[in-house]
């Protein structure tokens, strides 16, 4: 919503400076989005007379002008404009002034041997348009020496505010003035338009054929008009707020749209067919050429204003071209109507028409303003165009808009946190137009003004489906009681100043607050830390990616495809953050950073239900380890990914010895170099080398390895008190064994068998060598383990040690077919 300071002052009697006005507007909820002072850059420019213009002695295209800028002397200016001539009025820029259109500060200069003491300006040089064909020519009555900006009506700052959806009344200057007056910035000027007497019977009448199209409409015919350009003040105001002056009749409707927030429309009576204007729903496929020159194909859900020839306006949104007023109009008919906000919003959206009328009707306009607004518009049109007015014709009826609301004064403190004296609260409401109906020491009941459809407006609840009936009913009752009061508290606090509500720190319910995170939630941050401490960079990626890429990572179900993606390669909710990380690795490789380690803890999506959205910690390592004197560079392999997954699982408190690894990892991994980590049947993680075909599809140079840990699947670690430590006084004994096994035998089977060989004595088994090659038969592999024996009662004898060693060999042989290497 744009308006000028002088326009505001038509309604608000105030001497507050601009800064205070804008500050107050923002504070009370009419946020100032910009203040444009168009006069500032034009300040040095004065109106001048060209006393004499003669050809430049040394240049054909230049003229030397003697200029009187009202400074009591004549200055000489060299000018290149073809229209510079003796006697004209123009705009003069003295030396030292900054020329906005060229960005140059003017200096006294010599042009082809003649001194030039300033400049005569074109519109473009002043920054007021594109015209650069010549200097600006002013009419004869323009006073020499006067500031050009002031004379041109540009010294009126334009204020732009953002109007929230609840404040239709602030889409009119008067509504804004009312709020400012209530906030103590002056007084609202009275506004009571004199009725215009009826001189003849209206040639047009209204008919409401369908109440969905309109519920109440007024109209009035004017005749004997002489339409033409509006007066300068009106054109200036419209231009200032960005509207194009058209002709007096149309300009008046536009002016009232902004002045009162009351959209109006004028028909040319002689273009309307049949004498009746009908409010009805459009016929499916009916066409309308609108005032913007476009043709619209209407639907049965659009309300129209029709004559005998068909739809002539999309009611409340835009008028039609065929019946609009132009400079030849001598008989006009003013429309002042009330439309359903939802229907206007839907129609406007359907046809993508954004007009000032739509913006106001979809927020709701003041129904009680209709008769006086019609009088005011009639009066102004007759003043500008002459002529006389008919009777007022109407159809439908004024809707019931009267409502009351009650404020209990103590609630200002109990809810609003501000001690407001009752007199002050009532005074604020009265200044806003609320009328006191009842008042006692505890409360006040006020009538809501017709322009505030956002206050005490009963609206349907949308309660949660599963609520117990009694609870739902009590809540709904409470809402009906509290909401109107809440509306009033908001008005009082907003106008009085929210800065006057003293801040109070939240009292703590207990001196030591409970933890902000549940143990489950704390794991998210822990996961990031564990992975970052392992050298990975924590990433945050979009939750959606290209559906074709998503398909590489399993299913890309249609239920997870966006209906309105912003780009075709961001159309599918990702199955796993691993996919995002591989894409990120590709982007980094393209920048010359091929060796990366990236991690992300975030959503992976299986279906749109809350349960189908899993929290996954994923990581990728691509390329090789860095070159280093102490450690040769090597390529990443699946064991690196397993190391990441296991380190994370261990940090999350998973009982590590209970885990098993199965070879059924998802298809985006290399089938022979990947695994699923399970606790019982539950999959906790996957890891492995990324499938070469996936790398090829992503155009990512490998090797690349990755893992996923399913945080939701990991049970919360049980808090158990630890028992006493096992600290036997005897030294442990360590023995090495090398087994020859089939290469298909998992190392885990050997370790497990060895551990189980003597649970009392064997405290630890580690694998310290794995060899396949020339020194073992083909298809075989040598696995070397170290077994630690921990005696508890006495130092072990050689015989005892040998007995356990035999047990180990037999157990491993039985479980895996291994033979001890010679």
């Amino acid at each position: 919503m744009r308006f000028t300071l002088s326009w505001l002052r038509r309604h608000l009697d105030t001497d507050a400076p601009l800064a205070r006005i804008t500050g107050t507007l923002s504070a009370i909820g009419l946020e100032v989005e910009g203040v444009e002072d168009r006069a500032a850059p034009l300040a040095p420019f004065r109106i001048a007379r060209v006393v004499e213009a003669v050809p430049h002695p040394n240049a054909d295209r230049l003229r030397v002008c003697k200029v009187d800028a009202g400074e009591g002397r004549i200055v000489e200016v060299v000018c290149g404009a073809p229209n510079a001539r003796t006697g004209m009025k123009a705009v003069f820029a003295p030396p030292g002034s900054f020329i906005p259109g060229t960005g140059i500060t003017l200096k006294v200069g010599e042009i082809r041997g003649v001194r030039s003491n300033g400049m005569l300006l074109s519109a473009r040089e002043m920054g007021l348009g594109e015209d650069h064909t010549g200097i600006v020519e002013l009419p004869e009555e323009a006073p020499v020496g006067e500031s050009y900006a002031r004379w041109a009506g540009l010294d009126d700052p334009v204020i732009e505010i953002g109007v929230t959806p609840n404040r239709g009344d602030a889409l009119g200057v008067r509504g804004i003035a009312r709020d400012l007056a209530a906030a103590g910035l002056g007084t609202l000027r009275p506004w009571r338009p004199e009725p215009v007497p009826a001189r003849f019977a209206s040639p047009l009448r209204w008919e409401i054929a369908d109440p969905r199209a309109c519920t109440w409409v007024l109209g009035r015919a004017l005749r004997g008009l002489s339409n033409g350009p509006s007066p300068k003040w009106l054109q200036d105001q419209l231009t200032a707020i960005g509207l194009r002056p058209i002709n007096a009749l149309v300009d008046v409707t536009n002016w009232f749209t902004y002045d009162l927030g009351r959209p109006l429309h004028v028909f040319d009576v002689r273009k309307v067919k049949g004498g009746v204007l009908t409010m009805r729903m459009a016929r499916e496929g009916e066409r309308l050429v609108a005032l913007n020159g476009r043709e619209y194909v209407l639907t049965a859900e659009d309300g129209v204003i029709a004559d005998a020839a068909g739809a002539e306006a999309l009611g409340g949104i835009i008028g039609g071209e065929h019946t609009g007023c132009d400079e030849h109009t001598t008989e006009a008919f003013i429309e002042c109507a009330l439309f359903d906000p939802v229907r206007i919003a839907l129609s406007g959206r359907r046809h993508d028409i954004r007009t000032d009328a739509r913006a106001r009707f979809e927020r709701g306009v003041d129904p009680a303003l209709m008769p006086p607004a019609l009088e005011a518009a009639t009066r102004m049109m007759l003043e500008l165009c002459g002529g006389e007015a008919s009777e007022v014709v109407a159809a439908g009826a004024e809707p019931a808009w009267r409502r009351s609301a009650t404020l209990r004064f103590r609630r200002l403190a109990e809810f609003g946190g501000a001690e407001v004296p009752p007199e002050e609260a009532v005074a604020v409401l009265e200044r806003l137009g609320f009328a006191v109906e009842r008042r006692d020491a505890e409360s006040v009941t006020v009538a809501v003004p017709s322009w505030r459809n956002d206050i005490a407006q009963p609206g349907a609840l949308d309660q949660a489906p599963g609520l117990p009936a009694e609870r739902a009913r009590a809540a709904a009752e409470g809402c009906a009681e509290i909401e109107p009061e809440c509306d009033l508290i908001e008005e009082v606090l907003r106008i009085r100043g929210l800065d006057r509500v003293p801040p109070v720190s939240l009292p703590l319910a207990s001196p030591v607050p409970p933890p902000a995170l549940t143990p489950r939630q704390a794991r998210t941050a822990l996961a990031r830390r564990v992975l970052a401490a392992r050298g990975m960079l924590d990433c945050v990626s979009f939750g959606f990616l290209d559906s074709r890429l998503a398909a590489l990572f399993g299913e890309a179900p249609a239920a997870l495809r966006l209906e309105n993606p912003i780009a075709s390669d961001l159309d599918q909710m990702r199955p796993t953050p691993l996919a995002s990380l591989l894409l990120a690795a590709r982007r980094n490789a393209a920048r010359g950073f091929g060796d990366v380690a990236l991690a992300e803890v975030g959503g992976g999506y299986r279906d749109p239900t809350p349960e189908g959205q899993r929290e996954i910690a994923a990581g990728v390592r691509v390329g090789a380890t860095p070159r280093h004197w102490a450690e040769p560079s090597r390529r990443m392999d699946a064991m690196d990914a397993k190391g990441d997954a296991f380190a994370l699982l261990a940090a999350l408190g998973v009982p590590m010895p209970a885990l098993t690894v199965t070879a059924d990892a998802p298809g985006f991994y290399h089938p022979g170099r990947s695994g699923v980590v399970r606790q019982g049947k539950q999959a906790l993680a996957t890891f492995g080398e990324i499938h070469p075909q996936v790398l090829a599809a992503l155009d990512l140079p490998g090797p690349a390895v990755g893992f996923e840990v399913f945080l939701d699947a990991i049970p919360e670690p049980k808090r158990r008190r630890r028992g006493p430590p096992d600290l036997p006084p005897f030294q442990p004994v360590r023995r090495d064994f090398a087994f020859l096994v089939d290469e298909t035998v998992p190392a885990e089977a050997v370790l497990r068998a060895a551990r189980a060989a003597d649970r009392a004595l064997i405290s630890d088994v580690i694998l310290f060598d794995r060899y396949a090659g020339e020194r073992v038969p083909p298809g075989k592999v040598s696995l070397a383990i170290q077994v630690t024996l921990q005696p508890r009662e006495a130092t072990l004898t050689d015989t005892q040690i040998e007995a356990v060693a035999d047990k180990v060999v037999q157990a491993v042989a039985k479980a895996t077919g291994a033979v001890l290497r010679a």
């Binding site: 946190g417 809440c486 090597r634 690894v661």
Partner: protein, 369 residues
């Protein structure tokens, strides 16, 4: 071969070539054998090439028909040869993958591999930890909800009915309709978790909800995915004064500026009343916070709307409180002096390394900008 051309007009020779080539392709079990078949058929001296060359000698009245048949055959054979290549490559890859076996039960290496870049925590993750620490000290607990939300949780329950103008401002992403005929949405704000919290937890409630949010908007200052933190306080005697106190306390702690100017302006959100936007003082030119004459909008807040309470089954005569929401990227950018939103989600290792936080030093309440 030239003989065949002259002895037949019915195209028996073509049929024979087709059969024999297909048989040869089937018999080729590696890419070398396959290539031999390809050369023998389509190569410069291949059988099909010879037939094509011989077309000139065919009597004019048969040439047209035979030319068409040859072209058909050529297309067929080319397709068959290409298909076989794909099959063999697939099989070769499968064989390679079968041969490339790793015993995945081997214990992993005891330490992490070296990396070119040091690891670190993303500024978003870091900021979430910082604000969790501060709100945690004020007695808030973290609540969570899904990114893919029902229309009701995201809009209806929050007093944003179907045709409300506020829905237009949200640029919502939609998914295809579910079994109930309604389209799920990517949550446009973290506010739906207010609803989930009030439905699952009896008041008093103090919750914050840091999380991902989505809007169909993409430019230098908007990302289709971004993060918000929502706050919700419900109790019997919570007032707008507490709202102000809580947010002032948070902002001053988060930015580490004890006297940071904080301003509350009236505004409108469908799910709060009264609603307020909150500005902090800064110097627009230098970007310095807490100094200068300018104001920077930083979050939206308000007293929870009675309809929202009632939608969740809470009686507004008994329960009242406040809610707020702020952009996590925005406060992270202000704190770190960043100017561009887009790199947050691009995972450029140079950017990540520049802005990373040390994984071994969790945030404390004492630090500021």
């Amino acid at each position: 071969m030239t003989e065949a051309i002259t002895t037949t007009t019915a195209g028996d020779d073509l049929e024979a070539l087709r059969r024999e080539t297909e048989a040869a392709l089937a018999a080729a079990t590696d890419l070398r054998a396959w290539d031999a078949v390809r050369v023998a058929t389509l190569g410069r001296n291949g059988r099909l090439t010879a037939l094509l060359k011989g077309l000139a000698q065919v009597p004019a009245e048969q040439r047209r028909e035979r030319g068409a048949a040859l072209n058909r055959l050529k297309a067929e054979l080319e397709a068959a040869i290409e298909a076989r290549r794909a099959e063999l490559e697939q099989a070769a890859l499968a064989a390679r993958l079968r041969a490339e076996r790793l015993d995945v039960t081997l214990p992993p290496r005891p330490t992490a591999p070296g990396t070119a870049q040091d690891g670190g925590i993303h500024p978003i993750s870091r900021t979430v930890e910082e604000l969790t620490a501060i709100f945690g000290a004020m007695g808030f607990a973290v609540a969570e909800g899904p990114d893919i939300e029902s229309d009701w949780h995201n809009f209806g329950a929050l007093n944003i009915p179907e045709h409300h103008p506020a829905r237009q401002d949200h640029d919502t992403f939609y998914l295809p309709p579910g079994p109930d005929g309604r389209r799920p949405v990517l949550r446009t704000h973290t506010s739906p978790v207010q609803i989930r919290t009030m439905l699952t937890q009896e008041p008093p409630i103090r919750a914050i909800v840091p999380g991902r949010t989505y809007r169909a908007d993409h430019d230098a200052t908007h990302s289709p995915m971004f993060h918000q933190v929502e706050g919700l306080v419900i109790d019997r005697a919570i007032t707008l004064g507490h709202l102000k106190g809580c947010l002032i306390d948070f902002l001053r702690a988060f930015f580490g500026i004890r006297d940071l100017p904080v301003r509350f302006r009236a505004s409108y959100f469908p799910f709060t009343e009264p609603s307020m936007e909150v500005d902090i003082g800064w110097n627009r030119r230098t970007g310095e916070l807490g100094k200068g004459e300018d104001w920077l909008e930083i979050l939206g807040s308000g007293m929870v709307h009675p309809k929202v309470l009632a939608n969740c089954g809470l009686d507004p005569r008994v329960w009242q409180g406040f809610a707020f929401g702020m952009g996590i990227e925005r406060i992270a950018m202000l704190k770190q002096g960043m100017t561009d939103l887009r790199p947050f989600f691009e995972s450029d290792v140079r950017w990540l390394r520049h802005y990373r936080a040390d994984p071994l030093s969790p945030p404390s309440l004492a630090e500021g900008v």
